[in-house]
Symmetry: C2
Subunit: 483 residues, 2 copies
């Protein structure tokens, strides 16, 4: 085993077994598993330890959205609905969100990284040739970190802001401002109908903004999910008072004081107090020295199922940067695997990179779960019907109205929702499952276990949903499949 | 194939392929599957079509309990908690419960049974020798039903009321009155700490009663679940203002007008407006002519995994009456299997009674799920640690504090809960899982799929819970198991 701390002979050079670039949840988990495997680890971070998820994504967005869901739920329950007709107490919600982001301070996360014995290097890290990272500290000092075994790029992504006339002066929101804003804008234009756009439209509309969602194409909201997901979410957003427009492409923005004027293709203009661009993510790999190791700066890094960069035996890319699945939980999954495999390879232990092996992020391919915390919630795992068909699989989709399940009606008066199960007809296992409706977020994992476990339909009949829960949708889907 | 309707040559005798005694969800599902298999079916019911579940159990109890959970959830969410401090609108809740029981009218269920082509015979059915049932109609007329292939006993259970001094005059509540009461009693004594006792204590305390729960033994509430379930539920009931007393055995009851005096062993007395006995269930097999086929009236009927009564080739007992699992959903599961196997046997088709086969209620043994809609909810599937150890299995229990899962904290401020996973160390599969906490009811099915699917721990690592959901408890349990 190699020493767990670096040599300190030269104060500007430190040697580790593993150097991790980026201390978001992904970098933290790579570090954790590599440390558990007995390796010394340096973690380099230029911003807050804890990353996007802790301060500008999952945590604050869920903190903003949970009260929306709880209010919606209460409004659908007799004996309670009168009490919750009023608006949310926005100040209380924002204060709670601040609490969940630790007021954008990272002491807690620093303490955790230290507790596992990882060294933190504050500053901007760049590769400087094979197994070498140079960290430019906040005061400009340079520290060279050498990695005996591996460097893991866990730098994640940033929001894409399109290069439109007036964009810089318009001070647009990205996901960061949308999750950390300290006041409720009177009018908010959201550009983009993906997960970030939908979640932030849901949150701010409920907190008191007048929200307009602009979607460029005609495919509607949540275009990566089954079509009914976006349809049900759009319907609910409109019922909540928001406006959703498809085929609306922004050609220019212009800020004058507190007002942003948004010009659409065709010349129509809208006015708002803030504009959020939620149109995609770009890898934060543009300034990490990729050129020094023969890779293209700003590119997504291509990796194998152990998260090792194609053609390298020491460079890993884990989480968003590899573009396999831009989700915190899936990045953490990759990170556990990458940390373990780095340790195993360093120590010459057996490596299990076969499908579903301990060192293979197999689920990234066809078994990725996702929950959108809109109202209604939308959750899925695996492939949509269209994806499965494109992949050439012989499949059948089975749909069922969630609102007609007894447990759903009892959960919420007038429950509206829908479920789809996509069955592989050759193996009689599930390829994908989608649920849309109130309180489906915890249902998704039952589908994830079924898809990942490759549990055959015949066995799923023996997995009895408790009555009366929303989970009884499983019985209805199986019955519908049997026909 | 046999004709789907009976002969009408003799108006007092009708011939069917299958005669089903009892039209609760279990009888309905046996009928449905037997009809789907091409058999003619008579269903005999002396009370309401739809049974206990529809009118005096699952449906009304969940209708009473859902507002309690929704209010508890809302109270734990910033921006909302002030709005929901007041009491539940009991009149609205009771009216909604009435709606969900169809005001104790069964037209809808009658229509459904007719739509599948089953004949309904109103009255009390009794076996009269092999493959024969005599129905005593409401007007006293007798009709003889003969069954070419099978008779299915789906008569369920009734509440046990102990034979105490004063009991008849005290007009005690059973689960029926507790789920159908039209007014909120000022003081309610609940005798028994099982599921019915706990759920009804939760509901009526929230609706305004002052509830006292009396448990005879010292094992506490929900004694059939992991010990922490009852502990957490007790704590919450007490926080809600109820009183829970263990080691409290009732020796007599006495009603004087609107007041019931309850005497405990030792002589102490309590006063209440109503007293609910929730101390167990007895099979409704005492007056169904079991003696005419050599079985003991009032007994639980012993069956094989196809639900056929031991020693018989035509008599089935499905649901509560066979004592395998006294739960609606599990009875319906048995019913689907029994209806299918009756049809298959009638038509000389292949029967698959191997473990987990289409005609074997295998899940009844070690994979029964249950959700208690208390606050917090308690849900489980499979065996508890104690049950697994008693069964001689080499197991390890892994516990985790649900409140420290990010998704749980975001769901509810101050979330309190706990989870346990019991792992079979020989097969590395799950033997049982228990969750206790707010909003865990839909989590249970993920565990049911894992247990029933016998998904190994190694594969479960690839079933990634979405972040931040309460389901991330799965990751914590796996990490804790790995140690």
């Amino acid at each position: 085993m190699t020493p767990v701390t670096g040599t300190e002979e030269d104060p500007t050079t430190r040697a580790y077994d593993v150097v991790v670039l980026g201390a978001g949840p992904v970098g933290e988990n790579v570090a954790d598993r590599a440390r558990a495997g007995g390796l010394s680890v340096a973690v380099v971070e230029s911003e807050l330890i804890g990353g996007e998820c802790s301060y500008w994504a999952c945590m604050p967005s869920k903190a903003l959205l949970r009260p929306v869901a709880a209010r919606a739920d209460a409004r659908r329950v007799p004996g309670l609905k009168q009490a919750v007709q009023g608006p949310l107490d926005a100040a209380a919600v924002l204060a709670h969100r601040d609490y969940y982001t630790s007021n954008w301070k990272d002491d807690g996360q620093v303490g955790w990284l230290e507790s596992i014995g990882a060294d933190i290097h504050r500053g901007h890290g760049r590769l400087a040739g094979e197994k070498t990272v140079v960290v430019e500290g906040p005061d400009g000092t340079l520290t060279t970190l050498t990695a005996r075994h591996a460097v893991a790029v866990c730098t994640g992504t940033r929001a894409v802001v399109p290069d439109l006339p007036g964009i810089a002066d318009a001070k647009p929101w990205t996901s960061r401002e949308a999750t950390s804003a300290q006041a409720v804008p009177g009018r908010l234009v959201v550009v983009g109908g993906g997960v970030v756009g939908v979640e932030m439209a849901t949150a701010w509309q409920a907190l008191g903004s007048q929200v307009t969602v602009l979607v460029r194409g005609e495919e509607g909201l949540l275009p990566r999910m089954e079509p009914f997901a976006g349809e049900l979410v759009r319907e609910a957003l409109e019922e909540a008072g928001a406006t959703v427009r498809t085929g609306a492409s922004v050609s220019a923005v212009h800020r004058e004081g507190t007002t942003v004027t948004v010009t659409l293709d065709g010349g129509e203009t809208l006015q708002a107090d803030e504009i959020l661009f939620a149109v995609g993510r770009a890898p934060r790999t543009d300034d990490i020295g990729l050129d020094t190791v023969g890779l293209k700066p700003g590119s997504w890094l291509d990796v194998d199922d152990s998260c090792r960069v194609t053609g390298s035996d020491w460079l890993y890319a884990v989480g968003d940067a590899n573009h396999r699945a831009l989700l915190t939980h899936q990045g953490k999954y990759q990170a556990r695997i990458a940390g373990d495999v780095i340790a195993a390879r360093a120590q010459g232990q057996a490596v299990d990179v076969a499908a579903w092996g301990a060192h293979s992020a197999t689920a990234d391919h066809d078994a990725v779960p996702q929950v959108v915390f809109s109202d209604p919630e939308a959750g899925s795992v695996g492939l949509t019907l269209a994806e499965a068909e494109r992949a050439g699989r012989r499949v059948r989709a089975v749909d069922y109205d969630l609102g007609s399940v007894a447990g759903a009606g009892l959960y919420a008066d007038g429950y509206k929702g829908r479920a789809r199960m996509v069955v592989d007809l050759d193996t009689e296992t599930l390829v994908g499952v989608t649920f849309v409706g109130p309180a489906i977020s915890e249902l998704v994992h039952s589908a994830t276990v079924a898809v990942v476990g490759e549990v055959p339909i015949g066995r799923l009949w023996h997995a009895v949903p408790s009555y009366p829960t929303i989970s009884e949708i499983w019985l209805r889907l199986l019955e519908t499949y049997r026909g």
